[in-house]
Symmetry: none
DNA sequence: CATGAATGAGACTTCATTCAT
DNA sequence: GATGAATGAAGTCTCATTCAT
């Protein structure tokens, strides 16, 4: 069964493709840890090599470029981050036809698990997002038109039923994303050690905050 | 009358104290622009010097270190960012004894202006915040106990009157800050060019979103 | 058989441990020459690199710091300089129970050879000694208590037998060292080219000068 | 009455010549202190300017070059160091026709006072001596033929009377100088703080050491 | 005369990347 | 495939010196 942890996936992928070495695993593992901790720009390939117990040349043999290594680490995360939201979105609504609140809860729970399991990569992505337009451009296409259309019609339904406020869809989506990613950033980057309350409770609070904030007046 | 724009303040300060040179102004101006655009780590002092039409040594004659230059640019911004929020908070509530919604609106409006006028520095601060613990440590003391106490008692009052949900104060504050700064980050960093709607309207939406989200059930 | 020349030792050490490269040897060789000639502070790493036919980065890949390179060159010399004196001292006296004169002669001869073979490094050490307290601190511990004790009791014996003047031991030692190193400095640094007389004769003169100077009245 | 302290002399000289400013005095004073403490190469003109309370340009207005400032500081010291030895030498012998020991004593005492009063400049000279051949070349001519001739004939006289060992004059002079300057260097540079015994006693010991060391067998 | 802002050459150092072994 | 020595471009920073004010 395929794990939710990106690292595992990378391992699987590479095992399938080309008799992935332990060394490659180690490189990726260490790179993730160091990029997350000190940032991509402040981590040198020689540090990674040393920490991974590998010759510096080996990194370049496998990944060609430092930037390539970053992408190798980030891409599967990005691929999973939004598409799964979308699928979840669709399935969550389809199956249960629940309220917005219920839906938001499911999404947040799901993403919480995902990010919690990949905290380091999340760190990297957030930090690099601010610098590299490339990342944003690579990110957007995953938000396919099909999915967007579905989200739009769903939101329209909620708006029609008077459950949520009547605002343009992009505005609503932006509000949800801002709140959710704002929360995750604070939770997993800035206040890592401050554990105000339990996971379940925090998710519940955030869910209520968002769904109430979007309620029709 | 002292402007709200940090750049102006730096100019004023230096004009008053050291007979600041045109070159120094140029250096700071260019540094802000480049740090914001490419990030502190990815901007070299030689680039700054060249763009400012100045010898590289001149930068170091005045600021000693590249990091010093960053601080010179960031510090007044940080000094203004939170304390003013706090003062506004106190005064806004005191004067008008209005609802939470009214208060949130005032704060957001005020901060919107401030950040709008100092977009570049805001960019720099957000980006560096994720890397440098130093910044956070320099930031926190401005949130004085006096202010925090006031905020706490105010929130308690709102909770007592049943206007807002009964949650621990740190949780409420965190939610507000997350939403507000999440919004600003999206607005001024990530989606600079996407102007979904007018400024007034956006502030209004965010205000309602937050104050409703915190309403008692 | 291990040579008395430090350069040889460095080569041996590195050949044994790290498969030392020709380039590394060349770097050390050139560094010694240039440090000796122009002084550590007045020799740039780029000069060394150019003269050694190596990229400047190569120096730092191996030695990390310019100061490290200096230490790499100096340390084995310092390690040998005094301890060997001490051992010689002990053995020389022990074996033959000869007069002070005989002992001084042995020591000077031995040190003459040593410094003669490592003239350049001696130059470096003398010059840097005056600037860096670090060096002195690294130097002193080699003068172990055991050795000092032995020297003291030996000098006491000479004093008891009436062969040498009755002065505090530190004073006597200081006089010997001052004369010997004063001589070496003049011989190998200041008047390199002036060869007043043959080596054997000079040693003999210095020996007599010191041993007579210390004779009891 | 003309002082023995070089600083005073520089002051006098400059007062006589060109309405010497307090600033120039301060510059020289500070330069001496800093060159002595940290070495010429490790002292920057900006440091000197700051410590002297003077603009950096002022230094160059007066002395043109950093090296010039060094020379301005060193030259009068050098001029006094040896010539006075020579004069003393001549007069000491002439007047009292005493033994070598008496003569050596007078010279050492005299030089001790001189160097003691100008410790900082002595430090500078010793340190720079090792680097700059220029200094040596500037130094030698002061040892005039007339003086040398006198020393030679005097030494010859002592040798003829059987008081001192029969060695070539340069060898004898070198031995004396080596011992004396070796002692001064140890006393005023390396072991500044270690005061083994009183000044008078140390001079006496050194005098006896040298004169005995040179005695005919 | 004095100032100090400005300069620019050059110092030390880092690091992604290449390539012979 | 793996290694790690070597590279060289680029980065931060220092400092003696100049020159307009």
């Amino acid at each position: 069964m395929s794990s939710d942890n990106i690292l595992d996936k990378i391992y699987e992928k590479s095992k399938l493709s080309n008799k992935e070495t332990t060394k490659q695993q180690k490189i990726v593992e260490i790179a993730i840890k160091m990029f997350a901790e000190k940032g991509y720009a402040n981590t040198s390939t020689s540090e990674i090599a040393k920490a991974a117990g590998v010759a510096e040349g080996t990194i370049f043999r496998h990944y060609g470029t430092k930037e390539n290594l970053l992408m190798w680490v980030i891409t599967p995360f990005l691929k999973d981050l939004i598409p799964v939201i979308a699928r979840e979105f669709i399935e969550g609504i389809d199956k249960d036809a629940k309220s917005l609140e219920e839906f938001v809860r499911i999404v947040i729970q799901n993403r919480y698990e995902f990010i919690n399991k990949n905290q380091d990569i999340f760190c990297i992505v957030v930090k690099e997002f601010l610098y590299k337009d490339v990342l944003i451009k690579e990110f957007i296409p995953y938000m396919s038109n099909y999915v967007l259309d579905f989200i739009y019609t769903t939101l329209d339904k909620f708006k029609a039923s008077g459950e949520i406020i009547d605002l343009p869809n992009p505005v609503i989506i932006r509000m949800i994303l801002t709140s959710v990613f704002g929360y995750f950033t604070m939770r997993f980057l800035l206040l890592k050690e401050y554990n105000i309350s339990g996971k379940e409770e925090e998710i519940e609070l955030l869910t209520r905050f968002i769904s109430r904030g979007l309620k029709a007046p």
